[in-house]
Symmetry: C2
C-alpha cells in the first residue's frame, strides 16, 4: 500500500481546481447565517433562545427501551431491512389514524414518509421548482424551507403577514399577477413568529387557492404543541386537492429519528416517491418502526400532555420576563403554542447590534431579519425560543437582553 | 369541521392541472424499469435472484437488543436529538478507525455521514452537476447512482469495461476529449457485474486522474464481502486529492438504518454538508449511534465472518448450478465477493424475452440491458443476485432458468 502511494503522489503537482467543478446551483448557494449563529449556541454556559429544537427532557426516554424491545419483537429483521420508498407499512397505517384525529383525511397509501419534514420540502422543491419559478412565501418565513428550495433556484414572492399570520388579500394579489408554482406557509405557531392563522383566514385561503387553481404547501410541525385555546382545522381539510399537508414527529416524539410525512394529491405524490428514491431510497426502517409503535401503543397520546406541561410554564416565564424587563417600544407575540415568540423593537433599531453583546453575556437569540427573503426587512425584529431553556434560565436571559438593550443602544 | 368543508368544496369545479406545475427536471425523469421488476419479486413463492438486498439472516439480530440498550445507556436523549449535519461525533470517530483498516486515511472531521450511500450520491449530483455536464460511468453501471444523478441532468459518457472492470485506456480517452465533472465507478465486486479492478488498473486510474486533474467518485459498498482472494487498496489511497470515497454499513450491519458515508476533498465536503442540510438536516441520530456502538464494541469485527459464511456457499451454489444447468454459449463472472454474478448469453439473444416465462415459474432476475446508459447495449446479459435465496433455492432457480432458455428461445 505504501509503495503505490509514493509512486502516484509523484504525478501530483498542483491541487485540483474544485471550484471549476461545482454546479451552477452550488456557486449560487449562500452561506446560512443562522447556521453560524447556532454554532455559538453550543458553547458551555450559553443560555440559548436561538435554536428551534425540542428540550431533550421532552423525549419519552422512560419508555424508549420498551419501545425498541417491542419493535424488535414485533418486526424482527424487517425493521432493519431495505423498505419501500413510500414508507414503512405499519407507520403509514398508524399515521393515517393519527392524521384523522387532526382533520386530515388520508388512507395509508396516500401518505409518504420522509426523512424529516425537511425531506418532504426537498422533494417538493425537486419535483416542482425549475430555476426562476415563482414560489410565494410569508414574510417572515421558515428558513429550513428556503434551504430546501434554494438549490432549485426559485424566485420568492413575499406575502404580507400581520399578527394573525398570512394576510389572505396579499396571497390573492400575488396569485392574480403571477404564475406561482406553490404557496408555502406554516399555519400554526409559525416559525419564526409564533403566529396562528384564524379559522376565517383558513377558509379564505382555501377559497383563494381553489379559485386560482393554486397549490399550497401547508407545513404544520407545531400543531400538537398547543398550550391554550382550541385546535383549528388545517387548510388541507378545506381544499384537499389544492394542499400538500406536511407533518413531522420531531416535536411530539424525537427529532433525531427524522420522521416527517406528507399527504399530497396523487399526481404529485407519485413524483415525490420517485424523487425520494434517488435521494435516500427510503427513510430509516427502524426509526419508522419505532414511530409506528409509539403511535399505535398509545404512547404518543399519553406522552404529549407531559411535553405540553414542560413547555407551558417556559412560555409563561418568557412572557412574564419580557413584561418585567423589556423597555417601552418593544412588542411581542403571545402565541397559544409552538416554540417561539417574535419580538419587535422600535422601528429602525437593528437587533443584530444586540447579538454580539448578548453572546458575550452568554445569551443567544436570532435576529429576525434572517427570516425574510428581502434584504432590509425585519431589522427591528428577533425570534426567541422558549422550549430549550428552563424558566429560570429564560428569566435571566431576558433580563440580560433587556440590560443590553438599555445600555448598548 | 364538516361545515367549512362543504362550503369550500362548492368552489371547486375542475381538478388541478398538476402536470403544469412540475419542474422541467421532473418531466424528463424516466420510469425506473427495475423498480417495476422488483415489485414482482415480493410475490409469495418467488425465488428472487433479482434484488440487490442482503439476506435478513445476515443482520446481527442476536445482539441488536443489547446494542440498542447500550446506545440508550451511553447517549441517553442525545441519541434522539437533532444533531450535526456532518454526522454524529462518535460515529465519525468510529468510522475513522474503520476506514484506516481499509487504507482510507481520514480524520473524523473529514468524514461526512449520509442517509445511505444513496444520500452521498444525491448530494454529489446536487453539488457538481449542472444540466448537460458530462459524467463518465462504466458500461454497465450501478442504477442507483444514475437515479441519484439523473434529476440534475447530466450527460453520461460511457467507459468500456471488460472482465477486469473499467478499461483504463477508455477513461484516459474520455478525459482527453471531454471536460468531465466526475468519473463514477464501483471498484470491488461491481453492481451489476461482480467484477473487481486489479491493483495494476487502480494504479493506472489514479495516475490518469492526477494527470488530467479529474475527480473520481469511488463507490465501494461491497468491499467487506470478500469470500476469497486478497483485499485491494482503494484508488482513494493512491490519489486522495482526486477521489471521493463512498462507503456504507448496509452490507455489514443493516441497510434499514440508512448509514452511508464519504471522505471527500475538503472544498467539496463543505458544499456536500450545506446541500445535505437542505435535504434532511442530518441522518438519523439513533441509527448513527447504533452504528457507532456496532463498530466500537467490536461487534462488526465479530459479526462480519458470519455474513461471509452465510454468503460464500450461496455464491458457490450459484456457480455450480450455472455449470450444471446452463447451455453452451453462456458465460458468467466468477467474483471473489459481493452479491452478484453477471451472465452473458449468445450475442443478440435478448434476455428480457426470458423474463416473463421465468417469472411465471416463480424465478426472477434482472435483464442486464437496464444497467447501460446507451440503449441497445447488453441485451444478451443478466444480473443474478446470490445473497437473498439459500443454496437450494438458487439451484432450483438456475435450473428453471436453464429450462426456459432451452425451451423458450
Amino acid at each position: 500500500v505504501k509503495n503505490h502511494k509514493t509512486h502516484c503522489y509523484a504525478y501530483k503537482e498542483k491541487p485540483m481546481n474544485i471550484d471549476a467543478l461545482l454546479a451552477k446551483r452550488t456557486r449560487n448557494m449562500e452561506t446560512n447565517a443562522i447556521r453560524e449563529i447556532l454554532k455559538v449556541v453550543s458553547r458551555p454556559g450559553m443560555v440559548s433562545l436561538a435554536g428551534g429544537i425540542p428540550a431533550p427532557d421532552s423525549f419519552p426516554m422512560a419508555i424508549i427501551g420498551d419501545l425498541t424491545a417491542a419493535v424488535i419483537a414485533r418486526y424482527g429483521s424487517g425493521a432493519f431491512q431495505y423498505d419501500a420508498t413510500e414508507g414503512f407499512g405499519p407507520l403509514r397505517e398508524a399515521l393515517s389514524g393519527y392524521l384523522a384525529s387532526l382533520d386530515v383525511t388520508a388512507a395509508p397509501g396516500e401518505i409518504l414518509v420522509a426523512s424529516g419534514s425537511q425531506g418532504v420540502l426537498d422533494a417538493l422543491g425537486k419535483v416542482l421548482i425549475s430555476r426562476g419559478d415563482d414560489v410565494a412565501v410569508e414574510a417572515p418565513t421558515y428558513l429550513g424551507a428556503l434551504s430546501a428550495f434554494n438549490p432549485y433556484g426559485p424566485t420568492y414572492l413575499r406575502m404580507d403577514t400581520d399578527e394573525n399570520g398570512l394576510v389572505p388579500e396579499s396571497l390573492e394579489e400575488i396569485l392574480r399577477h403571477h404564475s406561482v408554482k406553490f404557496v408555502y406557509l406554516v399555519p400554526n405557531f409559525q416559525n419564526p413568529t409564533g403566529r396562528t392563522l384564524p379559522l376565517k383566514r383558513r377558509r379564505q385561503i382555501a377559497r383563494i387557492l381553489q379559485e386560482n387553481d393554486a397549490l399550497l404547501v401547508e407545513d404544520d410541525p407545531y400543531r400538537a404543541l398547543r398550550y391554550q385555546g382550541k385546535d383549528l382545522p388545517p387548510i388541507h381539510s378545506m381544499a384537499p386537492d389544492n394542499v400538500i399537508y406536511v407533518g413531522t414527529l420531531s416535536k411530539v416524539f424525537a427529532p433525531g429519528l427524522r420522521i416527517g410525512f406528507c399527504v399530497a394529491p396523487s399526481p404529485i405524490r407519485r413524483w415525490l416517491v420517485r424523487v425520494k428514491q434517488g435521494v435516500d431510497l427510503h427513510t430509516g426502517t427502524f426509526s419508522q418502526a419505532l414511530a409506528a409503535e409509539y403511535i399505535t401503543s398509545g404512547s404518543l397520546g399519553r406522552h404529549l400532555p407531559r411535553i405540553l406541561d414542560l413547555y407551558r410554564p417556559r412560555r409563561q416565564a418568557m412572557l412574564r420576563a419580557l413584561q418585567d424587563h423589556f423597555p417601552p417600544g418593544f412588542a411581542w407575540s403571545r402565541p397559544e403554542g409552538g416554540m417561539f415568540l417574535w419580538v419587535s423593537g422600535p422601528a429602525g433599531m437593528d437587533m443584530e447590534t444586540l447579538y454580539e453583546p448578548c453572546v458575550r453575556r452568554n445569551t443567544a437569540f436570532v435576529p429576525g431579519k434572517y427570516f425574510y427573503t428581502e434584504r432590509g426587512e425585519g431589522v427591528e425584529t428577533m425570534r426567541l425560543n422558549f422550549t430549550m431553556a428552563n424558566g429560570n434560565a429564560i428569566e435571566r436571559a431576558i433580563a440580560t437582553m433587556a440590560e443590553v438593550i438599555r445600555k448598548g443602544v
